[in-house]
């Protein structure tokens, strides 16, 4: 069940040059989102940009919704110009959600992918091992907040300015290799959101170790509700809509 509603911007705070958190207050009743779901947001009321943009639910408290976003192109630039009191139109929550972990789990966030995973870490406090990879210290936003919700936190950055230098998937491999054998497979599933190459590598790691791995995918979207067929991903059973059958998929289903 998803809705189309208007919402008033509560605030739009800069974390640094590239990242902001948008908080909004819906002007009508909403459906409570689950971790992994997303919303389509517009950033102004003109025809340019034309389409809404998808953003993962980052927080839902006291009848406000918040989104953590990175300024990339036209749409997110316009979004970053919104100010308290502005009204925008929102569709959501959309898509499926992360299947609830039965016990402890691994969360692998690549950059702004943390936006999608933090609600899961929050819901299952102190049961998630957080692996957070980013380009640099600057780009590992919300690290301490996410870390505080996690059982243990591992960080890697491309330039070594935060945590280990290198790929987060390498850190994860080390961790998995050191795991006691009784923890395995379904008892410690992976939940991941981030750039495609990272997800692809995770799917390999998971397959080799027969670990369940859920990935949240990104595709360009027009409608967000399953109508346009614009956002498909190739799966073992043909093209599937990221906005409808996803964005969370079992990594085994994806034709990488």
């Amino acid at each position: 069940m998803s809705k189309y509603f208007k919402a008033e911007i509560t605030d739009n705070i800069s974390l640094n040059k590239h990242f902001k958190i948008l908080t909004l207050t819906p002007q009508s009743d909403i459906v409570v989102p689950q971790p992994g779901q997303f919303y389509m947001l517009n950033s102004n009321n003109t025809y340019d940009p034309l389409l809404k943009r998808p953003f993962s639910i980052f927080g839902c408290k006291n009848n406000t919704l918040s989104f953590l976003y990175r300024i990339r192109g036209k749409g997110t630039s316009c979004l970053s110009n919104l100010r308290g009191g502005d009204i925008i139109e929102v569709i959501g929550p959309l898509g499926n959600n992360y299947p609830e972990p039965a016990g402890d789990f691994i969360a692998v966030a690549g950059g702004v992918g943390i936006a999608s995973l933090l609600p899961l870490l929050d819901k299952r406090k102190n049961t998630g091992y957080l692996f957070y990879g980013a380009r640099s210290k600057d780009e590992s936003v919300m690290l301490s907040e996410a870390g505080a919700l996690s059982k243990e936190t591992f960080v890697a950055t491309d330039d070594g300015s935060e945590g280990r230098k290198g790929l987060i998937t390498e850190l994860l491999k080390g961790f998995l290799n050191n795991l006691k054998s009784e923890i395995s497979n379904f008892t410690l599933p992976i939940y991941a959101c981030g750039p495609n190459p990272m997800l692809k590598e995770l799917s390999k790691i998971a397959r080799e170790r027969r670990i369940k791995c859920y990935v949240s995918l990104e595709e360009h979207m027009a409608c967000g509700v399953g109508a346009c067929l614009g956002c498909v991903v190739k799966t073992v059973s043909g093209y599937r809509r990221v906005c409808k059958e996803g964005s969370v998929f079992d990594s085994e289903e994806i034709v990488w």
Binding site: M1, S2, K3, Y4, N42, Y47, D48, P49, L50, L51, K52, E89, I91, E219, H220, M221, A222, C223, G224, V225, G226, A227, C228, L229, G230, C231, V232, V233, K234, G238, Y239, K244
Partner: protein, 305 residues
């Protein structure tokens, strides 16, 4: 009370607002946002006799006030549509128009025949913006002769109201509308998307996996209004107008220019209740202007001389 109902090709529509094929799924997708019973008609995603998997991604890219799509006509095929999707649509009290296509005349006829036999399909819309594999991949709808062959072939095989959906990628849209009429179409609809391309300058590759795509959205509206006007002057059968309709005002432009009904496409993506807002907006406009029947508006354009 304002009368909003119009007649098209033997169908009575509660109001002249339909959904544009391919932008409203099979109806289900938007049913949680509105009461589908309010629509004038529902036009479903384009169907082929056999299922199609469509193009790789990227399939869509935004352009100024528009978007290019190259979905590649992904669809579940006529049989699955009848079995899996039609039962849902039959629950509503509105005409269901099945849009279909093929890459050969045989494929067109096959799809049309199967759809005509299905209970709950009230009319057919034939998308002729597809390449003909038997004629060097020339798009059916851009050559009057090839178009004539396929429309005639389909017309012979179905008794359902037949709407021919014209391609805008032509020199003379009035001529194409006339060909459709002469071949026995009960209505024409236009415009389908206009072929376009976007280039990623860094990689120097087309953005879309299919290289080119179809332009839709507000950007095309002035072209669409002009073509609807030209087509409605060229034929006596009803014209269904579309292309960039986003507001009630946009829909009225088409109706005034000669469309007896209109379809809303890309706007659904931006506003999932666009069709309802447009219906309400038209009703309000007529009330405000003191016009009691939508039919008074249709084709009422006063050309300047």
């Amino acid at each position: 009370m304002v009368n909003l109902s119009v007649n098209i090709a033997g169908l009575r529509l509660k109001n002249p607002i339909m959904t544009a094929s391919g932008t409203f799924g099979y109806g289900e997708e938007y049913s949680e946002f509105m009461d589908l019973n309010r629509l004038g008609a529902i036009v479903a995603k384009g169907l082929s006799a056999a299922p199609r998997q469509g193009n790789p991604t990227p399939r869509i890219v935004e352009t100024p006030a528009g978007m290019l799509n190259a979905i590649g006509l992904q669809n579940i095929g006529v049989k699955a549509f009848i079995k899996e999707k039609l039962p849902f649509l039959k629950k509503f009290d509105i005409p269901v128009i099945a849009n279909f296509f093929g890459d050969s005349i045989d494929e067109y006829v096959k799809a049309a025949v199967e759809l005509s036999g299905a209970d709950g399909v009230h009319a057919l819309e034939m998308n002729i913006s597809c390449p003909n594999k038997q004629a060097g991949w020339i798009v059916f709808g851009t050559d009057p002769e090839i178009m004539e062959q396929v429309v005639k072939a389909v017309r012979k095989e179905t008794k359902l109201p037949l709407i021919v959906k014209l391609s805008p990628n032509v020199t003379d849209i009035g001529l194409m509308a006339k060909v459709a009429e002469d071949c026995g179409a009960d209505a024409v609809s236009l415009i389908n998307t206009i072929t376009g391309m976007a280039v990623d300058v860094k990689s120097r590759r087309p953005v879309l996996a299919n290289n080119t795509g179809g332009l839709s959205g507000p950007a095309v509206r002035p072209i669409a209004v002009r073509m609807v006007w030209e087509a409605s002057k060229a034929v006596k059968i009803p014209v269904i107008g579309m292309g960039g309709i986003t507001t009630a005002g946009d829909a009225l432009e088409f109706l005034i220019a000669g469309a007896r009904a209109v379809a809303v496409g890309t706007a659904n993506f931006i506003n999932p209740t666009a069709v309802i807002d447009i219906i309400d907006g038209i009703e309000k406009f007529l009330t405000d202007e003191g016009i009691s029947d939508i039919n008074e508006i249709i084709g009422s354009l006063k050309i300047r001389s």
